[in-house]
């Protein structure tokens, strides 16, 4: 691909709208006669619903509709249809919707909620996934009867919604060859996405049975699909319009709270119903990242060569599986991350508990798996007396190796070794950091690697339509959502290069409207530039060939002798002979008035090539389209008296293939590293002993603020062009968050010699470990 705009730090196309506050989000939208929705939620983690009486609420003046599972008996779910829109016979977590109200004002709606009477009979609940696997309490007794994609492997008597298996080589043989067998346990709690904008949607049902939903959604088309599926509607009757999303991080993928507001709207055709979640509802009743417990056993040679890796991961999926099914699968097929191990046995379990619902979260299982893998690599290094970086460099996946699912690595797959070396360099790995005069404060450095591929169905499709306007400017239609990642800017740059026109002449159509924009699977998995890039390339080729075909007739030369550049089509061997592009893109009109051709519309679509499902018993196959490698490093200062940790410096280096916009890419990396600091040091959903969530507001759920920022953050790249992308690109969006926690934990060890294996690494845990070490 000839590059003129790709690689340049062009300012964001949405910058003015965002900084002036004129960008429109769902919460900014109002319609005449709009009603306001509110939701009644379960106060119990697990209980039978004996009776719901809505009569008093219905009788309240100003109440337009009250809905329970009686009016809306539907379930939803992306891979496993297990989540009722309204709790039916039982509630399974604190915060689960039981009923909803639409009223003339928010105040009336809230009042109506108080008038709904629900009688519960508490059931025994289970909060620890290991405990849940014993099956003494069954959270989904009917799991076997739920509709699901066949690639997911349920174990209903154990509360397991997916059990993923990887079997590569022969681990037993590997352990026999090993000089050391090293075991460890690692865990992390549920965490919250904390987008600036909470979830919200508006629904409108008309008298023809057409449904329109405005939603803060990452995946307009998949949302449409899941709505239609849940409500048993034809796809063409459902229209999703997705304005800007104020942060998604996976939490706004698929379907979430939309079903509630749709159910309300269906009761009041002709009126819009709006439902915007409060922060408390957003934490409690959308999705969170799953908790995880992992047990690892690694076989290693004296020289540090990994020969066997056996691991069990148990995910706390909460009350419903959501994307968790595929998180469990992705973690299962990626372990042990960026390292070559000939013999691998991994069992990854997704387990129901009566905790908040787990779902997709930036990193999609990889933050979890790398916490275990990278902590364990440090443990191996310590046992062998080897430098942790040296151990990593010895074992990284290199061309010719196979990964856990048996895919062969090539030169063009990406270069984790280069990432590690660059990150080590940038953090000053190897030299001792200068220590503060105060002897209770010690500094240390740590490094961790990572790898992630898009976790998606084998046929996750994308499409692009390029429409030329009368003046040869272009409107570009795609259905990837701008969730802050900068997609609209980057795709503009790529389209400019593909079409050989200036980016000022291109507009990406926004907001996304499924009635108008072409199909796109979802804005998830760090795949947009890669997948849409492919579709764009085809659409541009299509448009250029239409232009050249018309020009070829006018100029009397073969299309292959023509070139498009900026605002003209010219003959390659005689560039002075040209036609202005604007005279062609609506068809060419000869001086005598007769015309040929017609408006130029380029069309391109794409599905990943050659992907397969994985063998259910061995996990071998070709499920990943492209792998992005990276390495992250941290320098910290630990206060040995208080256990407080200050992060002095973070470094992230990623093999992006090709960096389309260095400014936006660096922003993405810095944002991701900051998002990784929270779970490393303090973020967690906490519960009372009887399963009530505590940290459901920002008083108790803390995320990093500007005051917590490191003194220095460095984003850098390695560029090994991706062979499956005409632009050479691969994803980097989720990656920067992934290995920040293990890099920080490693730096803490380097500083004060204690290993914390259970996130978050709080001052209390550090002090306790320091005491144990000294006693």
């Amino acid at each position: 691909m000839r590059e003129k705009y790709v690689g340049k730090p062009i300012p964001r196309v949405d910058a003015y709208e965002k900084v002036t506050g004129t960008a429109v989000y769902v919460t900014d939208m109002f319609f005449p006669r709009m009603l306001y929705g509110a939701v009644l939620r379960s106060p119990h983690p697990h209980a039978k619903i004996k009776k719901i009486d809505v009569s008093k609420a219905k009788a309240l003046e100003g109440v337009a509709a009250v809905v329970t599972s009686k009016e809306c008996p539907y379930r939803q779910g992306i891979y496993l249809v297990d989540r009722p829109i309204f709790a039916t016979d039982r509630v399974r977590y604190v915060g689960e919707p039981v009923a909803a109200v639409a009223a003339e004002s928010m105040e009336i709606a809230m009042k109506a909620l108080e008038l709904i009477e629900v009688e519960y009979e508490p059931l025994p609940a289970v909060f620890d996934p290991l405990e849940a696997m014993k099956g003494e309490v069954l959270i989904h007794p009917d799991l076997a009867s739920y509709e699901r994609l066949p690639i997911y492997n349920i174990e209903p008597e154990k509360n397991v919604f997916h059990h993923h298996k990887t079997r590569k080589g022969d681990v037993e043989k590997g352990f026999k060859e090993a000089d050391y067998i090293i075991e460890g346990e690692y865990s992390l709690p549920q965490i919250y996405h904390a987008p600036l904008e909470p979830h919200g949607a508006i629904a409108f049902y008309d008298f023809n049975g057409n449904l329109t939903v405005w939603s803060s959604a990452q995946s307009p088309y998949t949302l449409r699909n899941l709505i239609a599926h849940a409500f048993k509607m034809s796809r063409h009757k459902v229209r999703v319009i997705a304005p800007y999303v104020g942060g998604g991080f996976g939490g706004k993928a698929g379907i979430n709270m939309e079903g509630i507001v749709i159910a309300l709207a269906m009761q009041v055709p002709g009126r819009h119903v709006k439902l915007i979640y409060s922060r408390e509802e957003d934490i409690m009743a959308t999705v969170v990242r799953q908790g995880m417990y992992a047990k690892v056993k690694a076989g290693v040679k004296k020289d540090g060569t990994l020969v066997a890796w056996e691991e069990t991961m148990v995910f706390d999926g909460g009350a419903y599986a959501e994307y968790g099914t595929n998180v469990v699968r992705a973690a299962g097929y990626t372990t042990p991350g960026p390292y070559y191990v000939p013999n691998i046995k991994v069992d990854s379990y997704g387990v129901y508990t009566n905790h908040l619902v787990g779902g997709a979260f930036r990193g999609f299982g990889h933050g979890e798996l790398h916490w275990a893998v990278e902590r364990h690599m440090d443990k191996i290094a310590k046992t062998l007396g080897m430098d942790p970086l040296e151990l990593r460099l010895k074992n990284v996946l290199r061309p010719g190796h196979t990964n856990a699912m048996g895919q062969k690595m090539h030169e063009h797959t990406g270069n984790v070794e280069a990432c590690l070396k660059k990150a080590a360099d940038l953090i000053g790995y190897g030299e001792k950091p200068e220590q503060p005069k105060d002897r209770v404060k010690r500094r240390g450095r740590g490094i961790a690697a990572l790898v992630k591929a898009p976790a998606m169905p084998t046929n996750a499709a994308s499409s692009v339509v390029i429409k030329f306007n009368e003046d040869a400017s272009v409107t570009l239609q795609v259905s990837i959502q701008e969730i802050g990642q900068g997609f609209n800017t980057a795709i503009t740059q790529m389209a400019a290069d593909a079409l050989h026109i200036s980016p000022d002449k291109i507009k990406v159509v926004f907001p996304i409207d499924t009635d108008a924009n072409p199909y796109e699977w979802q804005t998830v998995a760090s795949r947009a530039l890669w997948t849409v890039g492919n579709a764009l390339y085809r659409a541009a080729e299509d448009a250029l060939s239409q232009i050249k075909n018309i020009a070829s007739q006018v100029l009397g030369v073969a299309p292959y002798n023509l070139e498009v550049e900026d605002d003209r089509v010219y003959i390659k061997y005689d560039p002075e002979v040209y036609i202005p592009l604007k005279d062609i893109v609506m068809g060419y009109t000869y001086p005598d008035g007769h015309a040929i051709g017609g408006p130029v519309i380029g069309r391109g679509s794409f599905v990943p090539e050659r992907l397969t499902n994985l063998d259910p018993e061995t996990g071998q196959g070709n499920a990943a389209a492209e792998w992005t490698f990276g390495a992250e490093a941290a320098e910290v200062e630990v206060d040995m008296e208080t256990g407080e940790v200050k992060i002095l410096k973070l470094v992230g280096v990623f093999d992006a293939g090709r960096v389309v916009n260095p400014m936006i890419a660096a922003g993405q990396i810095i944002g991701g590293m900051v998002q990784g600091m929270g779970p490393a040091l303090f973020e967690q959903i906490t519960y009372t002993d009887d399963g009530k969530p505590i940290s459901i507001s920002f008083t108790d759920y803390k995320i990093p603020t500007i005051a917590d920022m490191p003194d220095e953050m460095i984003a850098d790249f390695v560029e090994t062009p991706e062979a499956t992308s005409p632009f050479g690109v691969r994803g980097i969006a989720e990656h920067p968050m992934i290995s920040v926690p293990p890099a920080i934990a490693s730096a803490i060890y380097d500083a004060v010699g204690v290993d914390i294996n259970d996130l978050p690494v709080t001052p209390e845990k550090i002090l306790k470990a320091l005491k144990e070490k000294h006693s």
């Binding site: 928010m106 105040e107 809230m110 105060d438 002897r439 209770v440 008296e641 208080t642 256990g643 407080e644 303090f682 906490t686 505590i694 940290s695 507001s697 920002f698 008083t699 108790d700 803390k702 995320i703 990093p704 603020t705 500007i706 005051a707 917590d708 709080t762 001052p763 209390e764 002090l767």
Partner: protein, 288 residues
Amino acid sequence: MIPFRFSYHKPSSLSEAFEILSEDGAVPMLGGTDLVVKMRAKRVTPKVVVDLKFIDELHNVSFSEDEGLVIGAAVTMNELIEDFAVVKERFPVFYQAIKKVGAYQTRNRATVAGNIANSSPAADSVPPLLTYNAKVKVVSADGERLVELKDFFTGPGRNVLKPGEIIHSIIVPYESPSIGMYYKISRIKAVDLSTIGVALTIIDPDGKRDIRVALASVAPTPVRAFKAEDYIRDKELSASSVERFAELVQESTSPITDARGSKEYRWEMAKVLPKRILRELGLFEGVA
């Protein structure tokens, strides 16, 4: 949104305020940074909210060596520390503590009087004020009274104010130059309540050297460690005396476990931090 109906008043004089405050279910408001948060969560459901910000006399700030620092109830924390250099110069530990309340935006609205009236054990401005022997001027339709800050709190969220009484101003006596430190441990560095807050103030450091300590978030109310202060008065700061002093500070606390930290951690820090502050002030060499 606040999910119930209430009426809102902004009286411009105290007498007008007293009248409205006598209505059933009336509460006073200053910055609203505690009150509105609680109303939103329906933890308090007043019928009448009386905004005191529009009463001129509650905006006064004055300082003299004899009268001390007088802070009108409606003065925001940012006004206080940005417009009155005397706070930083004469009451440095109080100044440091205010800087640790919430974030800049919070302090644009929050008041010291509100922090005191809210009577949270975690109130950051209170420990330093305790060390400076602050008093609270309370007024009502019936008159006024002065309450020692140390006698003001009766439990978490509870204080000696009677119905109809409001805080008029805070009086911080000036004794002599002071040095010291407010050490706050919290999960994040801003917009977080303290897991523990320790104010250690040394009054007249080059003369009589009176060391005073008060703590937040380690007892049902902010506490002052009088016993520890008595012990260390007139003593050399040696490893053993400081150790004993720190133990006595610790013994003045009775922490519990909550979302911000465990009882054990708070207990331990109640001893670590007084020593730490003395060391950072250069008054004591020892390392724990």
